[in-house]
Point group: C2
C-alpha cells in the first residue's frame, strides 16, 4: 500500500482562513520526508488551476518562505469557489482533471477546503477509481465558519474566534469609556447559517456587564420586539449595549432579518439587502430605542488576523496537513483528515480520518441547547467547547513594524496539454 511513487499536487478552495497556509506548509514539509513523492506542485486557485493546468513548482520555493506559510493568512496558492458537476451530468471536467493528473503523474492530491472541497475530492477520487487511475486523495478541513460535520472543530475557527473575542474585549472597553455619548455597538459577524463565529464573542467576557451583552445567531430565531426590549434592558442595566449578530441571523419565519420586508428592503435604485443585518439593526436601534449606535463590520478582516492568531489552531492546521500526507503514504484515499477531541481539560485532540460524504453533505450548526432559551446568548457549554481553541499566540515574525508574511516565487510548471476550453 505504501509504495505508490509519483508526484503530489495540493490546492486550496473556498474562503481563506488565518491558518489554511499552515496546512499547506504541513503538507509540503511532510512530503519532503517521503522521497517516493517526487515533484511537489501547487494548483493555483484550487480545482480551477487543475483544469487550466495552472500549476506551480513548490520545490523551487525558498524553504524559509515555506516555513513562513505557518504564520501567513489567506490562501497562498489562490482560492476559488467551484463545485464540480455530477459526473453523470457532465464528465468533461473530470476527464480534464484526470488528463492533467496523468500528464504530471500526480498520484497524491491534497485539497484544503470546506464541504464543497470535500465533495470535489470524493467525486475526483471516485472518477479516478472508475477509470483505473491510482490516486490517493485526502481532504484537509478549513473554514472559519466551523460548520463542517465529521470533525470536532474546524481549523481556521480558533483563530477567528480569538480575533473576534479580542476585538469584542477591546471595543467593549471602548464602549464602556464612551457610553455616556455612544452607548450601543453592533458587531456584524460573518456566518450565513452557523453562528459559531458570532458566539465566540462571548469568550471576551470577564465580569458582569462586559461585552457582548447580546448575541444573535441563525440557530435561534430573532424577533423584532424582543430584540428592542433586550437592547433597552441592557442599556437600562449597564448604561451600554454591545450586540454581536451573525450576517445570517433569521426571524421566526426563517427569513434573513436583513431583508425584512417593508423596511430597508430597497434603496432608491430598488436593490434589496442594502447594508446587511448590522446596518439594519443600527438603524432600528437608533430609530426605535433612540440611542446612538455604531456598526462594526470586519468582513474578511475577521479571518486574516494572523497578527493575533491562535497557536492551538495553527498547530492543528499544520498537523492535519502533515497527517494527510502520512495517511496517503499508508494507502488511505478519499478521506478527510480530522480531529477528535478526547479530553477538554486538559484539552486534547487526536488526528483521525472522516468520511467525505458526511462532511460534504452535512452542516454543523450550534446545538440549540448551547444557546439560552431567550435566544440572545450562549450557554457555558459553548464557551467550554470554544475556549481551548483560542489558546496560545502565533509568534509571527515582524519586519518594519508589520507581519512578515510568506511571498512565494510561484515558478510555473511547464504545460503538457493544450489549453482547457470549457464546453459552454
Amino acid at each position: 500500500m505504501g509504495d505508490l511513487r509519483g508526484n503530489c499536487l495540493m490546492g486550496q478552495s473556498g474562503g481563506p482562513t488565518a491558518v489554511i497556509n499552515a496546512s499547506i506548509c504541513g503538507v509540503i514539509q511532510e512530503v519532503l520526508r517521503h522521497p517516493e513523492i517526487e515533484q511537489i506542485y501547487g494548483a493555483q486557485h484550487g480545482i480551477l488551476g487543475v483544469l487550466q493546468e495552472d500549476l506551480i513548482d513548490l520545490r523551487q520555493e525558498d524553504p524559509e518562505e515555506i516555513e513562513l506559510l505557518k504564520c501567513t493568512p489567506a490562501a497562498a496558492l489562490g482560492s476559488i469557489r467551484h463545485k464540480l458537476p455530477d459526473v453523470g451530468e457532465d464528465s468533461a471536467e473530470y476527464e480534464r482533471v484526470l488528463q492533467v493528473f496523468a500528464a504530471h503523474n500526480i498520484r497524491y492530491f491534497f485539497y484544503a477546503g470546506g464541504n464543497d472541497s470535500m465533495d470535489t475530492i470524493a467525486k475526483v477520487s471516485a472518477y479516478a477509481d472508475a477509470q483505473g487511475y491510482e490516486l490517493r486523495a485526502i481532504g484537509i478541513p478549513k473554514t472559519v465558519d466551523n460548520d463542517l460535520a465529521g470533525i470536532d472543530h474546524c481549523p481556521g475557527y480558533g483563530s477567528v474566534a480569538k480575533h473576534i473575542a479580542a476585538v469584542t474585549m477591546g471595543v467593549g472597553l471602548d464602549m464602556m469609556s464612551v457610553h455616556l455619548t455612544d452607548p450601543v455597538v453592533i458587531l456584524e459577524v460573518m456566518g450565513r447559517n452557523a453562528g459559531w463565529m458570532t458566539a465566540s464573542a462571548a469568550l471576551a467576557r470577564r465580569r458582569e456587564g462586559d461585552a457582548p451583552n447580546l448575541i444573535y445567531v441563525p440557530e435561534a430565531p430573532w424577533q423584532r420586539e424582543r430584540f428592542l426590549e433586550d437592547v433597552r434592558r441592557s442599556h437600562a442595566r449597564h448604561g451600554w449595549c454591545f450586540v454581536a449578530v451573525s450576517v445570517g441571523a433569521k426571524d421566526e419565519t426563517g427569513e434573513y432579518i436583513a431583508t425584512q420586508k417593508g423596511e430597508f428592503a430597497k434603496d432608491v435604485f430598488g436593490h434589496v439587502q442594502l447594508g446587511g443585518v448590522g446596518f439594519f439593526l443600527e438603524n432600528l436601534v437608533r430609530d426605535e430605542v433612540g440611542l446612538k449606535t455604531r456598526l462594526i463590520r470586519m468582513g474578511p478582516a475577521e479571518r486574516v488576523a494572523m497578527h493575533f492568531g491562535s497557536l492551538t489552531d495553527r498547530d492543528e492546521a499544520y498537523d492535519l496537513g502533515a497527517f494527510a500526507v502520512r495517511s496517503a503514504r499508508e494507502g488511505v484515499t478519499a478521506k478527510m483528515a480530522s480531529l477528535e477531541r478526547t479530553s477538554n481539560d486538559p484539552y486534547r485532540c487526536e488526528l483521525t480520518l472522516s468520511d467525505l460524504a458526511i462532511v460534504a453533505n452535512e452542516e454543523k450548526l450550534i446545538p440549540r441547547q448551547w444557546l439560552n432559551e431567550a435566544g440572545n446568548d450562549v450557554t457555558p457549554e459553548l464557551l467550554e467547547y470554544a475556549r481551548p481553541l483560542i489558546q496560545g499566540e502565533v509568534a509571527t515574525p515582524i519586519e518594519d513594524g508589520l507581519p512578515r508574511y510568506a511571498r512565494l516565487r510561484e515558478a510555473p510548471v511547464e504545460n503538457k496539454l493544450s489549453p482547457w476550453r470549457p464546453a459552454d
Copy 2:
C-alpha cells in the same frame, strides 16, 4: 516654583485610543516619585466627573493594575465629549470646577485629550489664575486622528496606523487569494477632516500591486468619474482593487461624498447619510463597474487593537504623561506636553511643551504635497513620516488566550460638596 504641595487630579476626554491609558499610567507612576503630591485622584468621564465631583482614589488601586494600564486600550477613567462655554458667557461651570478643586485641594491637573481638551485646560487655567487659585494644569495629547497642531504626531496615531496597516496587509492577501470571485474591497476608515489614519494603510505595501491600490482622504477632492476609472484601471491591471477611504472624504464642492444628492441620500424613512462613505462606494462600484465588492468598517475597533499596539506609540504616550508631571512640578502650567522630531533615521523625538491656544484652535491636515496629484494615493514623504511611529510591538500579557487588560477598583473619593445642578 517647585514647592507647590497638594493633590493631583487626572482625566481623559474625547474618543479613546490604544495608548491613552499608558499616558495615565505615566502620570500616576511619575507622581508616586514626588511626595509633595499627596492624593492621586481620577475624574470619571473627564470634566463631567469634575463637575459632578465623581472622583476615584487611584492610590487604592493595585500597582499591578496600574502597570497594566500601559497596555490597556480605551479610557480607563471614562471619557466624555464636553466643551466648556466661554467664561464670559457662562461662568457657572468654571466656578464649580474651582469649588471641586478647592474642596479636594487639587493643585495639579492633568487632562489627556484632543483639541477640545486643550481648550478646557486653557480655560480652567485662566479662570483659576483670575481667581487667584494656584493650579498647575498640563494637557497630554491623544487622538487617533493625528490632527493636533503643535506636536510632530499624536499619541494614539502610531497604534491605529499599525493596526490599519496590518489589517490592510492581511485583507490584501485575502483579496489576492479570492480575487477571481471577490475582486474589490472598500476599507472605510475613521477621520472626518484629516486623512492620516486612512493614509497609514499605505504602510502595508511591500510589492507592486499590493493593497491598498487606491487611497481617498478628505484633503484631496474625490471625483466620481475619476474614482470609477481608478477602480477599473486597478482591476484591469492587477485583477483586484483595494480602496481605503476616509469617512470624511469630500467631493470638489467640499461636501461629504456619503451624502451625495440624488443617490443613497435617503432611505425609506427619509434618513440621510445612510451607511456612510464605504457603503456608498460599495454600491457605486457594484452598480457602475459591475464588480463584487466587500465593505469593511472597523469603526471603534480601529483604535483599540492593543493586541497589536505600537511600542513606539505606547512608550511616547507613557513618557508624555510622566513629562507632564515633571513639568508641573517645575512650575509649568497651561501648556501641552508635546513631541518634536529631531531625527527621522534613526527616529528620535524630544519631549517639549506646546502652547495650548495653538493646539486648541488649529487642525493639522495632511499637507497636499504628501498626496499624489491624482488625489488617490500618498507620496513617499508621508510614509517616511508615519513608518517610525508603528515600530515595535507592545507585549500585552495574555490570560486564557486573550489580552489581560487592567481592571480598576474605582474606589470613590468622599464627596465634600452638594450635588451639581446645571443651570438649565
